[in-house]
């Protein structure tokens, strides 16, 4: 049918089938700012103004819009001439991945038309219904208020941040400029031509490994004196990719048109465990418009892992692109490519499959028991680490230090506790999506929403029978990843379909498919045993974990090793032991999710530390202060276990934990509220509403030591601007901007003078990808070294042009090269000279970075809660986070990471949980049932950057993205325990779990039988 729509003021007549959504038709007609995030209207990414009302276009038929006005962000402004709303979103850092930004800006436009001076509550109400998984809504709310002021014609102050610090490693104020000491303590020395001293690789200087802190201080300070204050680093620069995102330009995987595109579709298993006895796709293949149907009979059988990790991946090779056995509801059965999504769906219904249904194990305790069905009985599954497929054991991890039992025996008190954490999902608003096609050279191009483009190329190569050199992976802008896209999830099967058809194929998950057949956080049962002395000294800490990896073991060993290695060493002890059994079940596979095992371990550890403090009669924070690690301490487990094998001792060179805790305590009013609130303050009798306050701390790492590697290339243009080519993968975090700021610092320019081209396996150097908190630290080091190499070339040319000065003494600042006597020459003149005039050369730099050190960032987070003791309802009233990420390269972006992380942790603690029925079918399959927080229900939040100087990081930086997701959930649980005087060891803290615990404590006979 023909429909008539006035789109952004222009009347258009479009062809639309009756069943097509307005979303489908708007995008087909080139309005790419309208995004697909779900199919039920819940996420709001697809929202557009229809006759001035913001409604989800995925649940609006195109035909419904016939005769109406539709407005999208394309009407607001272009990247070169942005609307004040877009300006405000960019200035405040409200644009992270940018996927939900267009809908938020339309909501803003409508609100401000009706109400030029909205209150914060009105703003939050107006943004509700547009889910954002990145920002925690703090900066979008700020953006709307700023846009309102701009549109009222008011002057607005520039956005600035003065972070606390930075501090020297021992906590003194520090100002200046320190480079990484990673390879060469003579950091200020320009690199030698033809090479940059790199970090010592495996087998590097062992003395550095155990360098005493005092020596390091000396090195740090000696280095600082030679430098000027930082200009680009530490500034709240706008995101370099911000304008196109704010303008809704076609920047994401799906915002791409190619002739002859086919639509991929997967037929998913309806059974939790079954053998495919017979599969007949002939009727499906015969359907007009179907170009290929692939079953396990049609493609070679190659075992692999979907875990996007460095080669050789430390995960079991227990998957095939298509298999003759299905191991969870949602496992792949067949793949279809057809002319339209409708035909592909119809074809899926025509595939005849005869299953031999097998008994299923849906609980790790069940699958560990004797006689359990064996999930991986195929002979070609290849294990990693200590595994036993006959017992469904994907891997056993053991890491210890000291004599645990002796230390326990010595302890005055040994306290045990068991904790349980749920299966939760990353829920990037952009689902997994891949487009594959043959290019004109017969090479396979994979345009995909991934965190690991280089791993995608290497991992799919043997599956589709092409050498990696014949594959090109392009990473466009990504609508959020959070670990879910550290998985080579659908690229293989999409490429198989292109191989089979010779045509471009697009495969995109629906939201329901995300919940059924993407990855999730490993659920765990954690048993803690802690030995302490009466004076509060921890002497022994033990953690035993049973983890459920689901049907496949992607990240099974590495996630779980983090659970122990990055948690229990947070407290000094004579002896530590971490043991973990990671077990297969017939559930959707778990995988990487921001925090990567630490949120689970931190929940158990940080709840347990409160329990131990309680038993000792100590304040939990005083107890922590007595025991937590400090500068000079060594993570004794890090040597035992790193990426599935032996690692490197990690000495702590920077640690702002003490200040983080102090700031949070002050901000939330911890001491007063510990006294004033809680069951004890009410004489043990619970009022209807009772408040509590609690906190927790955590650490992470910065990259996988000795494994993570990043490369960077930088070159100058005629006008003195630069192109930076990096393998690092910005998934909405702002990595491109941070790396540009780092390079700009070394070159005396700003991030806006650098065009960043990221993650294209043909055009950029290698990088392991966006995971393990590696980008700022590792890729940042590569960007810094490459820029320093280019800077050295510039100094040499400038020295010639200036005369009477040696290259060593030329300084780069404000886009000019300066002699000490104040004479200068512009970057443009240097570039023109070197490209066109004499001794012509391309000024450029290239570098790689790898590190044996993984400096831990630290975080403290506190929450205040109110519990309804009659219903069990928990409401988080406020949350405070303080994070030591070393030097914050861009404080606004760093804050944004923290605000988003604590919001995800808030969900982990209170609402998020994947639930399945007794046959293994996912019940929570949409964003109505799987609840992530909206703008209008957020607690108050405060975020503090506690800057330290990490001597090994680029300009003192450590990682920031992961550590803040760890402590808030246990902080909330600790606050609830303070409120009630009752400890609840399982999250999420649903009303039923909480009320059951209250009734059990009151002897009202409420056995802890769980719902679901």
């Amino acid at each position: 049918m023909k429909i008539r729509i006035v789109i952004n003021g222009q009347e258009q007549r479009w062809e639309a089938a009756p069943h097509e959504s307005l979303l489908t038709v708007l995008r087909r007609e080139g309005n790419f700012s309208v995004k697909h995030g779900c199919e039920t209207g819940e996420c709001g990414a697809c929202a557009a103004l229809v006759d001035g009302r913001l409604r989800p276009t995925c649940v609006t038929l195109a035909a419904q819009a016939d005769g109406h006005q539709v407005t999208t962000v394309e009407s607001l402004g272009s990247p070169l001439k942005l609307h004040p709303i877009q300006e405000a979103f960019l200035d405040t850092g409200a644009v992270q991945c940018g996927y939900c930004t267009p809908a938020m800006m339309l909501a803003t436009q409508r609100l401000l038309e009706q109400n030029p001076s909205p209150t914060e509550d009105e703003v939050r109400e107006c943004l509700s219904g547009v889910l954002c998984r990145c920002t925690g809504y703090v900066k979008p709310v700020e953006a709307v208020l700023r846009a309102a002021a701009l549109l009222r014609g008011e002057e607005v102050a520039p956005i600035e941040r003065s972070a606390r610090g930075p501090l020297t490693p021992d906590g003194r104020p520090w100002d200046g400029h320190g480079g990484d000491l990673s390879g060469d303590p003579r950091d200020s020395t320009p690199p030698a031509p033809g090479g940059v001293p790199g970090e010592a690789g495996p087998g590097g200087d062992p003395r550095r490994e155990a360098a005493p802190v005092a020596t390091l201080d000396a090195i740090t300070e000696a280095t600082l004196e030679t430098h000027e204050p930082l200009r680009s680093v530490g500034s709240a620069a706008r995101k370099v990719d911000g304008p196109k995102l704010a303008a809704g330009k076609p920047a994401f995987t799906d915002d791409f048109e190619i002739r002859g595109l086919l639509y991929g579709k997967l037929l998913l298993s309806p059974h939790a465990h079954a053998r495919i006895k017979r599969i007949d796709a002939s009727r499906a293949r015969a359907l007009p418009g179907v170009h290929a149907v692939l079953t396990h009979e049609d493609i070679p059988r190659v075992s692999y892992t979907t875990a996007g990790q460095s080669w050789p991946e430390p995960s079991p090779y227990d998957m095939r692109s298509l298999d003759d056995k299905v191991r969870y509801v949602g496992d792949r059965v067949a793949a279809i490519a057809a002319e339209s999504p409708e035909i592909a769906e119809a074809a899926a219904r025509l595939i005849e499959v005869e299953y031999e249904v097998l008994p299923a194990a849906l609980d790790p305790r069940q699958s560990m028991a004797p006689g359990a069905p064996v999930i991986h009985d195929e002979p070609d599954a290849r294990g990693f680490a200590h595994h036993d497929f006959s017992r469904n054991l994907a891997g056993r991890i053991e890491a210890g230090h000291g004599d645990l039992e002796a230390a326990m025996a010595e302890a005055d008190l040994v306290i045990e506790g068991t904790y349980e954490v749920p299966k939760v999902q990353q829920v990037s608003i952009e689902p997994h999506i891949t487009i594959t096609f043959w290019d004109e050279d017969g090479r396979m191009v994979v345009r995909t929403s991934t965190q690991v483009p280089f791993h995608v190329r290497r991992i799919i190569a043997p599956l589709i029978g092409l050498p990696p050199g014949r594959i090109r992976v392009i990473k466009p802008r990504i609508g959020g990843g959070f670990g879910g896209k550290q998985e080579v999830l659908i690229e293989d099967i999409c490429a198989h379909l292109t191989v089979a058809t010779g045509r471009p194929v697009k495969l995109e998950y629906s939201r329901a498919e995300e919940f059924m057949a993407a990855r999730s956080r490993h659920p765990q049962i954690l048993r803690m045993r802690t030995g302490v002395m009466r004076d509060g000294t921890v002497v022994a800490n033990e953690m035993y974990v049973v983890a459920d990896t689901g049907a496949y073991g992607c990240h099974a060993i590495t996630v779980q090793s983090n659970t122990g290695v990055k948690t229990i060493p947070l407290y000094r002890a004579k002896a530590l032991r971490f043991t973990c059994d990671t077990v297969y079940t017939n559930l959707p596979p778990a995988g990487a999710f921001r925090g990567y095992g630490v949120p689970q371990g931190a929940f158990a550890l940080e709840c347990h530390m409160d329990v131990v403090a309680e038993a000792l009669g100590m304040d939990p924070m005083e107890f922590r202060a007595k025991n937590h690690v400090r500068v000079g301490d060594v993570n004794v487990l890090s040597k035992k276990m790193n990426e599935g094998k032996e690692g490197y001792s990690q000495v702590i060179y920077s640690c702002g934990l003490t200040e983080c805790i102090a700031i949070c305590q002050e901000a939330i009013g911890y001491r007063e509220k510990r006294e004033k609130y809680g069951a004890r303050a009410h004489g043990g009798k619970l009022p209807v509403k009772v408040r509590g306050v609690g906190g927790a701390i955590s650490m992470q790492g910065s990259a996988i030591p000795g494994v993570d590697m990043g490369g960077a290339v930088i070159k100058i243009n005629d006008d003195g601007t630069f192109n930076l080519m990096i393998g690092a993968t910005d998934i909405g975090t702002g990595a491109d901007t941070v790396l540009a700021q780092i390079a700009a610092e070394a070159l005396g320019i700003t991030a806006q003078d650098i065009m960043v081209y990221p993650s294209d396996t043909d055009l950029t150097p290698f990088d392991t990808g966006a995971y393990a908190s590696s980008t700022t630290y590792i890729s940042g080091m590569a960007a810094k070294k490459a820029a320093e190499e280019a800077a050295w070339e510039m100094r040499k040319v400038a020295a010639k042009l200036l005369g009477h000065v040696s290259a060593e003494h030329v300084m780069l600042r404000d886009k000019r090269c300066w002699a000490p006597d104040g004479r200068s020459v512009s970057h443009q003149d240097v570039s023109l000279h070197s490209l066109h005039v004499s001794e012509q050369q391309q000024i450029m730099g290239h570098a790689s970075a790898v590190s044996l050190k993984s400096p831990p960032p630290f975080a403290a987070e506190f929450a205040e809660v109110e519990v309804d003791t009659e219903t069990g309802e928990v409401r988080v009233l406020s949350m405070v986070a303080a994070v030591d990420c070393g030097r914050a390269i861009n404080p606004i972006l760093a804050e944004g990471q923290i605000e988003g992380a604590i919001t995800q942790s808030l969900g982990y603690a209170t609402t998020e949980e994947m639930v399945w029925d007794e046959s293994g079918h996912m019940i929570t399959r949409d964003l109505r049932d799987y609840k992530i927080y909206e703008a209008n229900e957020m607690p108050r939040s405060q975020v503090f950057l506690v800057e330290t100087h990490e001597p090994y990081g680029p300009y003192g930086a450590k990682a920031v993205a992961e550590v803040p997701i760890n402590p808030l959930a246990p902080a909330i649980a600790n606050a609830v325990a303070h409120a009630l005087g009752i400890r609840i060891n399982q999250i999420p803290l649903t009303p039923e779990r909480v009320l059951r615990a209250i009734r059990a404590a009151q002897g009202q006979g409420a056995p802890a039988a769980d719902q679901g």
């Binding site: 009756p18 069943h19 209207g41 409604r55 989800p56 009303p991």
Partner: protein, 284 residues
């Protein structure tokens, strides 16, 4: 995906809607906001009938009470001054809590009652407000009390179109309140209760309607609780007695949000709170 959908109709009269629904052999669904329909896996749906051109989005306030067109969106419902001013704004509050804002801009009152994704708050509030539905059928119109409708939705909806929801004017001295439990403030309710109370000059309860949603197959009244109140002064003891009557009266089911047992524990709490809040609203 509604890939089998071949026909889209946007008729101007209710009669045309009913004719389209009555066609034999053409699987036809009513389309109001679209939030119930889209995302539904219905591989046989052939036609939809859009209500947008019927003008069923009116709000009329008269001597008989409030008459709401079935196609009014939840957002209009929560913002309309007449709805905000009616019975303490109970229905407006329910509409606000039923769904996120973007969905409220599309979802309609009728769709919320006829479908199954609309949440508990709106139907529970309507039960407490003694709402009646008008349904157009081929041979005329039918009127049905909302709780009766909810109890036999499928039967009432066969070949019928909900055109109007009418709420009788409350007696003088009426207070109303809605209470709910959920995992987070904007999450869908696990269970909710609504109460509408009328009090005479002497402080005695003239009329009471207590409704509960999420504690049975569909939202419904709790007559045993109401009986504890009518004719008595609304003391805390009376309210507690009414709440106590709830436990035996409800027959909840378990789902992933909570067990039946939990709902049974919490139902009387919410009823007590709704009654207490309604009494306070009245006395203001």
């Amino acid at each position: 995906m509604l890939s089998t959908l071949r026909e889209y109709h946007r008729p101007h009269t209710v009669g045309e809607v009913l004719e389209l629904l009555a066609r034999p052999g053409v699987r036809t669904a009513i389309l109001a906001g679209g939030t119930e329909l889209a995302g539904r896996e219905d591989p046989e749906l052939e036609a939809v009938v859009d209500l947008a051109a019927l003008g069923l989005n009116t709000v009329d306030t008269g001597a008989g009470g409030l008459r709401l067109g079935a196609a009014i969106t939840l957002q209009d419902l929560m913002e309309h001054p007449d709805v905000l001013g009616f019975a303490g704004g109970l229905l407006a509050a329910a509409a606000k809590q039923a769904a996120p804002r973007t969905i409220r801009q599309a979802a309609t009152l009728g769709g919320t009652l006829a479908g199954d994704k609309g949440g508990l708050e709106v139907p529970t509030a309507l039960v407490a407000l003694d709402a009646r539905l008008t349904l157009a059928v081929v041979d005329g119109i039918r009127q049905v009390a909302v709780d009766e409708f909810l109890a036999g939705k499928g039967g009432w909806l066969a070949g019928a179109l909900v055109t109007e929801v009418s709420l009788p004017l409350p007696m003088g001295g009426t207070g109303a309140a809605l209470e709910r439990v959920s995992r987070s403030p904007s999450d869908r309710a696990i269970i909710c209760a609504a109460a509408v109370l009328s009090v005479d000059r002497h402080g005695a309860c003239k009329a009471a309607r207590v409704a509960i949603g999420g504690a049975g197959a569909h939202p419904g009244r709790v007559p045993d609780a109401e009986a504890e109140l009518v004719g008595h002064p609304l003391t805390s003891e009376r309210i507690a007695a009414a709440a106590a009557a709830v436990t035996a009266a409800v027959d909840p089911q378990s789902d992933f949000r909570a067990s039946a047992e939990y709902r049974r524990w919490v139902a009387p709490v919410l009823v007590r709170r709704a009654l207490t809040a309604a009494r306070e609203v009245e006395s203001r």
